[in-house]
């Protein structure tokens, strides 16, 4: 027994030594040396997305390597869920990739734990930000550090299917429609009682109160700031109750798209299988909608007007680029980020597949075919530019989980297993824990 104790202590001590030795290595980042733009460097770069996006990125990387012969970029990609599993493990090991495609909802969390590099020292040096709108640039700032730079923008839009409207004989809402008008529209389409060729009932739309971002949009319209700088909420239980009550009558009359059918269709939805006439969503979803529904003709219009008589829309930065704080080559990483942000050729390669490019030079470089999906999305963002009067609400830490909780509760609400009051109470309890 004694021998065993000694032996196991030896093993434990050795293990501890290995661990400390390793963490010692990881900590010292050599920032002292001067940057040599000609030195051979290998950068790791990762993104989420499908096959199509991978091909576009590979094309952009090839172009970059041609221009910067000393820099090799190792690109890697997985799907959205796998992406964040991978990043959180790497973050724990302080081994994040040099450059990452990043999402607003995870930015505060990673930034507060010092996982992301502050890019401000490289702005004006390697990274040219002159093409950015100031408000948009600000969306990548967390606690005075520029941890992300948006490559493109999205904004909310109401999508509707003119074929279904024609079948049901209901007109699309006018541009100044309010949330109440939108409710009436949904009810009218559902009450028309039409059916798809497969015999499924046609609905006017889903219960839009079930999406957290729409709640934020509505709050902004009410003149509220959803999240304060200190990470606390700028809204109360009453605000959420009011928003959820907007569609209470539609829910009671079963005029919104049924949740059970919606879940059966996942990952598609009622709108993409042509059983629901309208859906509010991000404008870059158009390409997916057209592909999934097989309907060429899908129209877009701005979101409903709030009680202030204002649409108060915002541009949500999408596909931000960030650098890992542990990178050994911050300058090279910055050079690559600059290339992806500003190079007109990159704009041509991607089109609007990642949203509308944030920098004008890339927008202009896109070869837009009249009536194509890319052109429609760009036209839409240009047309609603007057309505875009507010900055995007920068998500709090833990945003991913409070958004997921909201979605989960919304499903329960749709099934009728919680009331609006219970929803609000449960959500706030959960949210207070998640955002601490």
């Amino acid at each position: 027994m004694k021998r065993f104790t000694l032996k196991s202590m030896g093993v434990a001590a050795a293990a501890a030594l290995v661990l400390t030795a390793c963490s010692g290595d990881a900590d010292d980042t050599d920032s002292g040396e001067a940057y040599d733009p000609e030195a051979p460097v290998t950068l790791t770069f990762t993104w989420w997305g499908n096959d199509d996006r991978a091909e576009r990125y590979n094309e952009a990387i090839a172009l970059f390597e041609e221009e910067h012969e000393n820099i090799t970029v190792q690109g890697t990609f997985v799907d959205w869920d796998g992406y964040w599993t991978g990043r959180s493990t790497e973050a724990a090991g302080r081994s994040l990739p040099d450059v990452m495609q990043f999402d607003l909802s995870y930015m505060r969390e990673y930034s507060e734990n010092q996982h992301l590099l502050d890019l401000s020292p490289y702005m004006g040096e390697q990274i040219d930000v002159s093409g950015f709108d100031d408000a948009l640039l600000q969306s990548g700032v967390i606690e005075d550090a520029q941890v992300g730079l948006p490559t493109s923008t999205n904004t909310l839009a109401l999508f509707y299917n003119p074929n279904l409207l024609e079948q049901t004989g209901v007109d699309a809402p006018g541009e100044d429609y309010t949330w109440e008008d939108f409710n009436e529209f949904i009810a009218a389409v559902t009450d028309a009682g039409e059916q798809t060729p497969e015999g499924e009932a046609i609905y006017g739309g889903g219960d839009y109160t079930g999406t957290f971002w729409f709640f934020l949009q509505w709050l902004v319209q009410e003149g509220k700031t959803p999240f304060n700088d200190d990470g606390s909420f700028g809204f109360t239980e009453e605000d959420m109750t009011t928003f959820l009550e907007l569609t209470a009558s539609l829910r009671d009359a079963e005029q919104v798209y049924p949740v059970a059918r919606g879940i059966q269709l996942l990952p598609l939805g009622g709108f993409t299988v042509n059983e629901s006439a309208s859906e509010i969503s991000w404008d870059n979803f158009l390409a997916g909608y057209v592909a999934d529904s097989g309907t060429e003709d899908i129209q877009m219009m701005p979101v409903p007007t709030g009680s202030g008589g204002d649409k108060a829309m915002f541009f949500k930065p999408s596909m931000l680029l960030a650098a890992g704080a542990n990178t050994d080559n911050p300058e090279a990483a910055a050079t690559f980020i600059d290339f992806l942000l500003n190079e007109p050729e990159v704009g041509r390669i991607f089109g609007t597949s990642k949203g509308v490019p944030a920098v004008a030079a890339q927008r202009d470089a896109m070869e837009l075919e009249e009536g194509s999906i890319d052109a429609t999305v760009v036209e839409y963002e240009e047309a609603v530019a007057d309505h875009v009067t507010e900055p995007v609400p920068v998500p709090v830490k833990g945003f991913g989980s409070i958004e997921a909780e909201y979605k989960r509760l919304a499903e329960e609400l749709a099934y009728g297993s919680v009331t609006v009051d219970e929803f609000v109470e449960l959500w706030f309890t959960e949210a207070e824990m998640a955002t601490q």
């Binding site: 963490s23 499908n50 096959d51 990125y57 997985v78 724990a92 990739p97 997916g288």
Partner: protein, 305 residues
Amino acid sequence: MSTDQTVLGTAAAVSQESSAQLRRRNRSRSRLGSVGFHVGSLALTAVVLYPALWMLMSSLKPSSEIVGNVSLVPTGASLDNFVTALNGIGGVSFWTFFWNSVILAVGSVVGIALSSSVSAYAFARISFPGRNLWFSLMIGTLLLPFHVVIIPQYIVFNNLGLVNTFVPLLIGKFLAAEAFFVFLMVQFMRNLPRELDEAARIDGAGHIRIFTAIMLPLMKPALVTASIFAFIWSWNDFFGPLLYLKDPALFSLPVALRIFVDQTSTSDYGAQMAMAVLALIPVLLFFLVFQRYLVAGVATQGLKG
């Protein structure tokens, strides 16, 4: 004596006639029963196999017809999805993913068969100090959830510079870190008669000789069972390759499969189904070839020697 014979004789006459009748009745009853049994079984099989069949048929449909559609018959069957799937993803061919999966699966099988059997021999046959304690510690690792060890493990492999290679996924298998298989083989070996190795020892054999000449041949059922499980688990493993493999050219099939379905851009369900079918074939073949060993192996595990 004679009365006995008469009695027997009448009995035989009676039984000859009625037994033919009985047999006939019996046969028709058993035929009816067997028809019922088979119809019932087929119906149950259809229910259980429906998802697999749905996947197979969906791989022949265009993407827009797949989700939310429970029908099996495609309106216009085509092999387009298979063409897309075989073209690979982002410039990496399907066969690269396939080959990576094969390397990982075969590596796991070899590693587990080698290391677990040796460790099991030590636990089952060699008496060394603290053996029971080490054995319970090893069993204890079974209780550790995967998610608890994954981050420390990642940090260690990362600092050793082994991330983005197959080493982190295989090294544990070669070092008998898979407690389940060690346990399985220890239990099997404990049931083998000790007289065999005692006889070998008397003949002058050492541990190495006893292990290779006596134990290994007898352990065939356990080795086959472990190999089959190791192959299937490695082939289906998603999380490990997702964490440790960064270069798309090193991805295994389950990771590649997920890229076709991305909620943030357009999803190609058809190609995903096609690739799922292609990914399923090897594991299905493997199972078909080895299933009798698997059943035999598991059955032997349950027996007391």
